[in-house]
Amino acid sequence: MSSPAASPSELLKKAAAGDQFAWNAIVDRYSGLVWATARAYRLSRDDAADVAQTTWLRLVEHLDRIRDPERLGAWLATTARHESLRMIRRGGREQPTDEADLFEVPDGDAVDRLLLDQERDGKLWRAFAALSDRCKTLLRILMADEPPSYEEIGAALGMPVGAIGPTRMRCLDRLRRTAGVAELGA
């Protein structure tokens, strides 16, 4: 996914004037972040889809009143966080996903094709799934496509930006030390 060169404030201004291409560019750039935020809060894929949809509706409602357009990513991450917490408070349509299968693969075919066939990927994913909640949550956001900024991550998790670097380092170290990953060459 290539990043369009336009700045968030330019895209917002055009989208507010009804420019569908500008709006699509916003969606493409940030949909990974919005999705990863909802999933980091351990929502099922159905509930996460609800949260992501609501988040995009909120942006449409607020298109011409985003106070700091250049920080659109952080605004979306904050909104997705609030909507995720709201979903959790409401009890969701389903219970938050079980710890055991939180990041389990939803789709058997994809695993068979891309994990089980490739031992290295399978090991890495299982090692990730065995990490602490804190690590999984942070890494899930870091895994978003496009890679989010620390400000966006802080907004998504309600976490001080200064805590992200050290936690990230610790979690990746732990992952490396996990049996099976060290000799994977990563």
Binding site: S31, A52, L57, V60, L142, M143, V161, M169
Partner: protein, 161 residues
């Protein structure tokens, strides 16, 4: 680790993280229907209407204070510059009854819209500002209140009923 104070994506290119990102793209991708919905959402925008923000939602208040919540009733308040919209949702047999109150009271046409762009129903608010809808359960709606000109139309933010 390559950087003491990484602050942006350029400093996140740890190969292990890049691998995880690739796997997440396979194992837990953004569902296509979410992207399609997000793109279409721009079309639900009414540039002629003012947004009435959700101010109070009893469902959330009750949940956060761990008070016992009445399962069958939920109240919400939306606020625009010159109009409050109070809404009470109660559970019917297999439908949701929405009772609304405009404040200050006035007559108006009120639409209940779905997030697929359709209008579920249009009702009239009486001279006391009251209106009523029967809604399907589990849908996402907003209300659009059209008062006598020159008052601007007001639309509420979206709610899941």
């Amino acid at each position: 680790m390559t950087n003491d104070h990484p602050t942006n994506s350029e400093s996140q290119d740890d190969p292990l993280l890049a691998d995880l990102r690739r796997l997440a793209g396979v194992v837990d991708p953004v569902p296509d229907q979410v992207t399609a919905y997000a793109r279409a959402a721009l079309g639900w925008r009414r540039i002629d209407a003012e947004l009435a923000e959700l101010l109070v939602d009893s469902q959330l208040e009750a949940a956060s204070t761990t008070r016992s919540v009445s399962e069958s009733e939920r109240t919400l308040t939306f606020r625009a510059t010159d109009l409050d919209i109070d809404v009470e949702l109660s559970l019917g047999d297999d439908e949701i009854v929405l009772l609304g109150q405009l404040a200050p009271a006035c007559t108006a046409a009120v639409d209940a819209q779905r997030d697929d762009g359709s209008t579920v129903a249009t009702v009239a608010a009486d001279e006391l500002g009251r209106f009523r809808f029967s809604l399907e359960r589990g849908v996402r709606i907003r209300l659009v209140v059209r008062r006598e000109p020159p008052a601007t139309p007001v639309e509420t933010s979206w709610i899941d009923v």
